[in-house]
Amino acid sequence: MRVYRDDQKFLTFRINAVLWGIVAAFVFLAGSFWFVQGVQAEKYRGLSEANALREIEIPPKRGLIMDRKGKILADNQPSYMLQVDRVVMKPLLKADKQRREKLEAFLSQILQMPLPELHARWDKGAAKVNFTQPFVIAEDLSMAQVASIQAQSIAFPEVNVVPEQRRNYPYGTMAAHVLGFIGEVNDKDLKANPELEQGELIGKRGVELMYDQYLRGRGGAEYWEYDADGRRLSEYVPARKQPVPGDNVYLTLDFELQRRAEQYFIENEMVGAAVALDPRNGEVLAMVSSPAYNPNVYSKRFTPEVYKTITSNPFKIELNRAIQGLYSPGSVFKVVMSMAGLSEGVVGPDTSFGCGGSGHFFGRRFRCWKKEGHGGVDVERALKVSCDIYFYTIGGRLGVDKINEYARKLTFGEISHIDLDGERAGLVPSTKWRTENPVKTSRGADPKWYPAETISVAIGQGPLIVTPLQVANMTAAVANGGKVFKPHVVKYINRVQQDGKYKLFRVPSRVLDEIQLSPPALAAVRRGLWQVVNDQGGTGSNARVEGLNVAGKTGSVQVIAYSGWIKATSLPFKFRDHAWFASFAPADKPEIVVVVFVEHGGAGGADAAPLAKLMYEAWFRDKIAGARLDLRNPETLEQIKEGELPLPTTR
């Protein structure tokens, strides 16, 4: 066989052949693109605008919110909303320039909504979402409205009635400040979280806001084919993306305890707050802020008008008083003073002073709340009868900076990082604080802290302000021997996985700080607090529960300065004192802390303590079986309102 040697000429010939073949292929491709982009461009432009296949979003189902035992506090209810589809409308608008006006007139009549408002909603809705996405123009339609619109669906194909899941809070105002509410995303939300999309409903306050990323779930999508006239043809099922429902959230709140507390505020028309904590782990068992708003009213798309009513309410219903209300702690602060005095050794457990109704400190005369005086008082008795003179003396010996040190240790003056939005820090004064915030006088700024001011702080007045939650945290630390927990309202998050199984994410208990309190000091303070409730002549006897050792401290806070001794009830409402009651039980092995605060309630013992009693009875129902209050009895409620102490009915 002969072997032919290849030569360069032969190879070059083959290369040239290939070259021309490739040039031909490129010319063919260019021609094909010319056909698509030049000749058929109009057709494809039309298809592009009509978007032959459109993605229609399916909103996810928002997770449920439940109390610690699974009682549902927020769920979703089927409802109908009205959407306008501009893709469908476009060709119709070309044929009839007045179409939008006609449609608006039709909808205005059916929705019974003034034309200008409907027009504004249209403009706003259309501006929000992409042209290919239908926008919402009304929600929560009645069945009659749905029927009327469906009847005209041939005349107005661009209007869709779409079922949706509306957020629903079955108990209305119950735990409203903890639950919060939802609303449509705004520009600020979008900036903060690029995952969000226009028109989506997200948590705006409370747990709905703080745990939104769990509750929200993930949206799905359907793909629908549309013809050039905007008519929906069929769904492209294989592409469908199923939405992922949000996680369910279990709160630490106890439904019964929460309801008992809220009822008390409602029945007595009281303004205030109550917090119940588990001192062993920081779980919030109840958190009440009265008066409350109804989250059902706010969890809508079209709320700007209603939204104003929440912020302009004279009782500031949007305020969660338990974590945002700032008040003087009054005599409740004497617990902190005792701990500080005993720990610092400026007094011993047995040191006693004489109280004659008033005393001189730093050149000024300060009154005790009791004109007649308390006679000889040691720390236990001082707490029991809430003697001011005793604590003036300790305050004078400690000085404001030592008081500041202990108050801060016991959680005052900074936020406790509870899993709710808008918590406020309050203020604990010190000489440093005064230097930074001098008093403005006619002679200029005065950066000096005067020792006489310390005397006011010693009984929880002066610039000192705290939230009810902080008082609860402090009480919990006294109850558990010095542990400061990070309080939390969510117990665990329950995720339904794709395989249908549940997965629980527990919110861990976290100790923020552990403070060293001397055991004898702690014991003396606890004995004093027990006497407040259980001893003859204690100020908190209204919180006494048969069969249970409650320990606590009352407090009354002057709202206006008045000279001399005045009977609180003789003042008009807005000048009356605020009432505090901070407590825990059982005194020897604390399981629950209850703090009650009533704005302009008068006296802590009379107005705040009875609620604590009710809450203990609810919580320890089984332990104190046989001795309980019948809250369904209107007479009993009447008695509570009168400030009397109704006797538990025996079963």
């Binding site: 083959r14 982009q37 494809y44 432009r45 298809l47 605008e49 294989p238 592409a239």
Partner: protein, 365 residues
Amino acid sequence: MIFRERGPSVDWNFLGTAVVLALIGVLLVYSATYYGEPSLSTAKKQMLWVAIGIALMVAVMVVDYHVLFDIAPILYGIGIILLLYLMVFGRLTANVRSWIHIGGFQFQPSEFMKIFTALMVARFFDSNDRAYLDMRSFLMVMGIITLPVAMIIIQPDFGTAASFFPLYAVAMFFGGIRARVWIAMILLVAIALPVGWFAFLKPYQKERVMIFLNPERDPLGSGYQVTQAKIAIGSGGINGKGFRHGTQAKLEFLPARHTDFIFAVLGEEWGFIGVIIVLGLYLFLVIQALNFAKQARDRGGTFLIICLIAFIIFHVLINVSMQIGILPTTGIPLPLISYGGSSTMMFFIAIGLILNVDMRRFVNA
């Protein structure tokens, strides 16, 4: 022959065209992912790939391609080992075991295997200067190409396996085959196909072959993609909708819009004018490379250029054709433009090797 004292000189027009195509690619990736990704991470990554690609291109230009011929068997061996590794330990990504994961990055050995195999084929023809391949040489060169192809088919990544087709074509067309060998080969394929189909392929592999041949079988994939790509390209018209103004891409109608269907983004946003410019740039690359091939110093250099430019031609023609449905959809990227680390690097290496041969075309260089 003219003997002139001159060192290796780079053809800057060729190099520049490749870089311009890659930069157009970065712009298109940026535009295609603009709405989905405020962080621009994909476009930034592509920029990084291009930078690495250019560095690799320069690196392979430095070493004389004859040295590469010498180490080609080693590189080829490493590639085969990596493919073996994938067969045993490969992680399934989109039903295909073709990625090796190292740290946060992943790469496809099959992309680099294209270069190594091309080097082996060119090396083979460097020492074989017969006008027609005899049976032994024919089987040898087919074996060199078929070994990696078979391993890639097992992954099963038919798109990548198919992209080795240009090597077969080069070997047969430029190597030279007699008529009876053509007939024998056609008979062999006719027998091997049904036997392989019934004896060796698993059902899911068969399904993938069927999808490759008939895209309508895959409801989520090809038919929908081509329709959307055609709408995107057609609606672009002559002038295009403008940079970043492509609605199809923005509305996420167009799948794989920064990878296999990036040419549709070009067609939509830059119109027919953009399409012609990019096709023109590719054509320039091809014509220039084939000129280099004619001028190469030796047979090995000529074959190396032909093998590498064949890859580029094949990818461009297949990818651009599938955009408007002339050919079925396959996972074949657009050279230098599609998003992707391995393919960007691979094509820059190819460009570098072509320049490498061209630089050393003078015997005394």
